[in-house]
């Protein structure tokens, strides 16, 4: 580079650096794929909002690094002998971000607001087990259940809201609180920190365990390649210190990086290929089984998504319900062809048919799903070998939800299920399950799910889930694909990093940002 050019560039950079010296502070920056839908925890419907709420609010109970449940806003708790209620003793001296004292009235208000018929939010049913809640003095709360609830403390991970932050218990998603939240958590929204595409937080100096990073800046950066770019240049003032989810294809870029470390973390999520059972051909078990035998999951996973576990049923391998006695099937083209021949599906040209019904399916794909095109092309090529034709229909996210989940206009689709701490598959596979969008109806499976739901003994429940795993692996309501090894890319300047499954930022107050 010539000296003159260097001088010109130097002057330009100096000017622009001076012009934005405010950005030179030590701040933990991270990009999000989606803009948080709301900072009001009831309406935190996407993961970016869940992560933000994790920094701003507290819950009565938290899950520690070992996976055990310990006190958050609750100092201790006692469960009734008959499991019909729980009494919490609250932490004293906790303040809301505006300086008001946190009391039992806030816990009572949160539960009553969640149960108010005028408060409309998706996870409202999580509060259905509560019959009554009452304050016992300033720092005691008793919650009565409508039935015995085993391990009840696990159900109190929801965020607590300030009673003085709302006029009454009917809370709307339009409330100003969604932009100007008031929590007791380790971070609070900076004055003027909520903008169109970024949210700036500052450490809550009143928090019981002082956060080590003084500021957090979330930037909405929908383009994944831009996120990767920002992480690569994390030495720059505006670079980011973490990318929450690294697409598998970008992992090699950081494997031997001097500035970025790959942090694996566990999420309870698995991929599946769903069959629409209302389609005559797909209602035939032989067709579903043949498709499962014709698709090489290992090849698809390694070629397009990276590392993970091939699954045989509706749980991840780390789940207590996973049945390791059920082996995942492998690629068996010959057996797939035999199954189809045996069921009367004969080849007519490229596509098999039985009477007028052809094995020709519309495969609806969400454009936002990672590697959707590559995965589809792989599946299409593999199914072609056994005489099954699939036609792609890529649609945007909102249309996908409408077409697949609401109107059920699809034959096949590919997607992911993610779970919080409890893997409940009842809504997916019970004929009356609210998430059974595939029209699956198996009386034996319904009985198994109903029995398991009524079981109070956890050991028995675990065994019943393992049996269910075996039955579903055979019947194939879905073709269970894999669970991915998830990696976050984090700047080596960050110390003490521990990523909480699902919530990600639960232990963020302990993270440090070295200069």
């Amino acid at each position: 580079m010539s000296k003159r050019l260097l001088r010109v560039l130097s002057a330009f950079l100096l000017l622009t650096t001076l012009a934005s010296s405010a950005a030179a502070q030590q701040v933990f920056r991270y990009p999000e794929d989606t803009r948080p839908s709301s900072l009001l925890p009831f309406f935190a419907e996407d993961m970016s909002a869940v992560r933000m709420c994790e920094l701003i609010f507290d819950s009565l109970v938290v899950q520690n690094k070992r996976g055990d449940f310990e006190g958050g806003l609750a100092k201790s708790w006692t469960v009734d002998a008959d499991q019909g209620g729980i009494k919490f003793v609250l932490r004293e001296g906790v303040k809301w971000h505006d300086g008001e004292a946190f009391t039992a009235e806030d816990v009572v208000f949160t539960i009553q607001a969640a149960q108010d018929p005028k408060t409309l939010f998706n996870s409202k049913s999580k509060f259905n087990f509560i019959r009554e809640v009452s304050a016992q003095g300033q720092y005691g709360v008793y919650v009565a259940f409508d039935r015995p609830v085993p391990e009840a403390e696990k159900r109190f991970l929801f965020k607590i809201l300030p009673k003085h932050g709302f006029p009454d218990t009917a809370i709307s998603r339009k409330d100003k609180f969604a932009r100007e939240p008031l929590g007791t958590g380790p971070y609070k929204v900076k004055k003027g920190g909520y903008s169109l595409r970024s949210i700036a937080l500052e450490a809550n100096s009143d928090y019981w365990s002082t956060p080590k990073v003084s500021e957090v800046l979330m930037q909405h950066t929908p383009d994944k390649s831009a996120q990767i770019n920002l992480l690569q240049y994390s030495g720059g003032k505006a670079g980011v210190q973490a990318v929450i989810f690294l697409p598998p294809k970008n992992i090699p870029l950081f494997e031997n990086s001097d500035s970025v470390v790959l942090e694996p973390y566990h999420t309870v999520s698995w991929w599946y290929m769903a069959y629409n059972h209302e389609n005559k051909a797909l209602a035939d078990k032989a067709v579903r089984q043949a498709m499962a035998l014709a698709i090489d999951r290992q090849e698809l996973l390694e070629a397009h998504l990276g590392r993970g576990d091939i699954l045989s049923g509706p749980f991840t391998e780390s789940s207590p319900f996973y049945n390791f006695q059920v082996e995942p099937t492998g690629l068996e083209l010959e057996r797939a062809n035999q199954l189809l021949d045996g069921a009367g599906w004969t080849r007519k040209g490229d596509t098999r048919a039985k009477g007028k019904v052809k094995l020709d399916f519309e495969f609806v794909m969400d454009k936002e799903l990672a590697s959707n095109q590559a995965l589809f092309l792989g599946i299409q090529a593999q199914l072609k070998k056994v005489g099954i034709t699939v036609r792609p229909n890529y649609v945007d996210h909102a249309k996908y939800r409408d077409q697949v989940f609401t109107r059920r206009k699809f034959d096949l689709t590919l997607n992911i299920w993610s779970f919080e701490e409890v893997e409940d598959v009842y809504p997916l596979f019970h004929s009356k399950g609210v998430m059974n969008f595939i029209g699956y109806n198996n009386a034996d499976v319904d009985t198994m799910l109903d029995t398991a739901k009524a079981t109070k003994d956890y050991k028995k429940y675990k065994e019943q889930m393992k049996q269910l795993h075996a039955v579903l692996a055979q019947d194939l309501p879905y073709f269970f694909l894999w669970s991915l090894d998830i990696y976050s890319g984090i700047s080596k300047k960050m110390k003490g990093v521990y990523i909480q499954p699902y919530y990600y930022f639960s232990s963020f107050p302990e993270w440090e940002l070295s200069p």
Partner: protein, 325 residues
Amino acid sequence: MSGAASFLALAGRRIAASLLLLVGASFLIYFTIRSAPGDAVDAITPMGTPPEIKEKLAAEFGLDQGVLGGYGVWLSRSATGDFGESLVFAPGQTVMEVAGPAFEKTLLLSGGALFATVVLSILLALFLGEPSARQQGLTGALYFITSAPGFVSAVVFSAAVNAGVQRFVEQAGHETPAWYPIPIYSDSIVPYFFAGFVLVMGDGLLMDTFNAVRAEILGVRGAQFIAAVRARGASVTPHLWLNLAIPIFSAFVSRLPVVLGGVVIVEYVFTLDGAGYLLLEASKQRDFPVVVGLSVLFTLAVIVVGLLSDVARSVIDQREVARDG
């Protein structure tokens, strides 16, 4: 009819036509967005949401009304400047609260880029003068550089700047600027300048405007009345610019829709928080009041600038009024 009355009549007709155009455009936009598969309720509710909650949400969002009824309500409210409230993107905020500041930035960016394009085109036309064989190399190179689609120019430009800054920082040991690397959301104004530069240099805008401006300049310079002025020994400059004002302003106005279209993608690439970014995000979330409000603002901007152009032309050239009146 007197000159003033004719002018008022012409202005009245143009305003009425513009209003009709705006109503027609807003209906088309509203109809298209409401008819698209998936709505705001689908965008925010996970599968398994009880139907009664979905129904109540649909009622809360005004999605239970039919398209025609909904448009009627929207039209009557927007006539008073109330474009409704955002449903998903910024629940509880009015469309104008969300879209106003973003649109202002976009308008400034587009207007600034277009103004720079016109000024550059004039300078280039004055510098090059009559087309000649000697200029072919230079104009050919400029055509080649500026003909790339806007998003390609934006991506290539940002990659080049990032690589250049990194190399420079390594060589000179300089501190990295706050806007680095591109794209990043920052308070710095620098990315706006970069975006403006890409708007000027992409989509063939510069050379298209240059061609139009040069043709006008050469046309006026060669006109008989200029020769007459010259023959009288008077200065031709005031005559030249007075006669160029209308065509140059027309060049500005006619290219505004192109720039407003291009700015959506450029804002996305440079992560600027303008109307383009907002429009894309609100569309993804099916936040129809924001999408309709913004689209109408875009349409309104084009109509208003066109109207101003007509009025300016009428003021400068009374023959327009006589012809239309």
